[in-house]
Amino acid sequence: MATKLGEKIRSYRTKKGLTLEALAHQAGLSKSYLWELENRESQRPSAEKLQGIADVLGVDVSFFVDDSVDNPQEAHRDKQFFRNFSKLDEDSKEQLRRILETFRKPN
């Protein structure tokens, strides 16, 4: 299961046309470490490692910092089943609530 961070790194890497191997090499990381970062819920990498990746990709390291705080409370507001709930940002949750609101009135 990839994390948001992993997906971000992969998408910037592919936009730049870099292979996993090339990015790992230029950022001074092992291939398997970078692969794990992109594809697994692994340990949080150090700021230094992230900075190294950001430098190679030419993006600001803040792009990799996940500022959305997941609030599990939200998950129980409505009776619902969710996949990837934790990945949904506030904006989408709000839109979803609005969509559901429109269903509440009988047709």
Binding site: T14, W35, P72, R83, F103
Partner: protein
């Protein structure tokens, strides 16, 4: 809940499959299964007090699908993202949510009462998700019709692609359906960027020791495999490879057929290894201390 409607993933799918088979006999198109229509009918047909009253697309970032209770309508809304992936994946998502409705809608209390603790909530959620997937796979690719597609000659990505078109599901879902139901010895591997993301073995392959552990480990593709050959795009019908390329303890003369399909738009490669049924690849037992 009506008596006798205590479903498990397979029995729920079989019930719906019988209806769809009957509808086909009456002249309706059988495949791909029209999940949206089925979802709207199923509650009424089962005479459940809380049918699905809405089936709608909701194309929100990172949202795949969901089932929501609409108190005011005494029913449920099934939402799915129609822009996330191929039509086959969308259909699978719809069927997955329908699975939650048939199997788990009584259990939402459990979510309501749990202490808003994602860690605690996680494992249970995982089990429910895999049940919903199992239901979806059974509904969209019923075993009777699936077997008919898969008989005749040795398995390859051509056959599997044809079946995925017929049933309107992704190739990966079709491959999984095959690997989990076949009596052959085979291993399915999904890899990205030269490393194995996950792998599933058929029963026979597992009994013969042919499985690849990826949980908690980072496993690079074997050097000599077709999968690792960067210059090779795809090899749908497969090529013979030495079995010990993939499994180091295999007999040096044993061969397997390795098929490869590069899925560029998704950034991964599917590999299918077809082994001889008699080939065992267990590591030799280490005796002593």
């Amino acid at each position: 809940m009506a008596v006798g409607d205590n479903f498990n993933p397979s029995s729920a799918a079989i019930r719906l499959t019988h209806w769809l088979d009957a509808a086909e006999a009456a002249g309706l198109e059988r495949f791909p299964v029209a999940v949206d229509k089925l979802a709207l009918d199923v509650g009424q047909t089962l005479k459940w007090p809380d049918p699905i009253v809405e089936v709608r697309a909701a194309n929100l970032p990172m949202f795949e699908g969901g089932l929501f209770h609409i108190k005011e309508r005494r029913g449920w809304a099934l939402l799915y993202n129609e822009q996330l992936g191929s039509p086959g994946r969308v259909r699978f998502t719809q069927a997955h949510e329908l699975g939650h409705y048939l199997l788990h809608r009584q259990q939402q209390e459990a979510f309501e009462c749990s202490e808003a603790d994602m860690v605690h909530w996680g494992p249970n959620q995982k089990a429910l998700e895999s049940q919903a997937d199992e239901f979806a796979s059974n509904l969209l690719m019923p075993m009777k019709q699936f077997r008919v597609c898969m008989t005749g000659h040795a398995i390859d990505f051509e056959m599997l692609s044809e079946a995925s078109t017929k049933f309107g599901v992704s190739l990966t879902a079709t491959c999984l359906r095959w690997i989990l139901s076949t009596e052959e010895s085979a291993v399915l591997v999904l890899s990205r960027d030269g490393f194995i993301d996950w792998s599933v073995s058929s029963d026979k392959a597992r009994m013969n020791g042919a499985f690849i552990r990826t949980r908690g480990r980072v496993v690079e593709l074997p050097m000599q495999s077709l999968a690792a050959e960067k210059t090779m795009e795809s090899c749908r019908l497969g090529r013979r490879v030495s079995l010990n390329t993939w499994f180091e303890h295999a007999h040096p003369d044993a061969v397997a057929r390795e098929m490869k399909l590069v899925c560029d738009n998704y950034g991964y490669t599917l590999s299918l290894l077809h082994l001889s049924r008699g080939d065992k690849v267990w590591a030799p037992r280490e005796w002593g201390v």
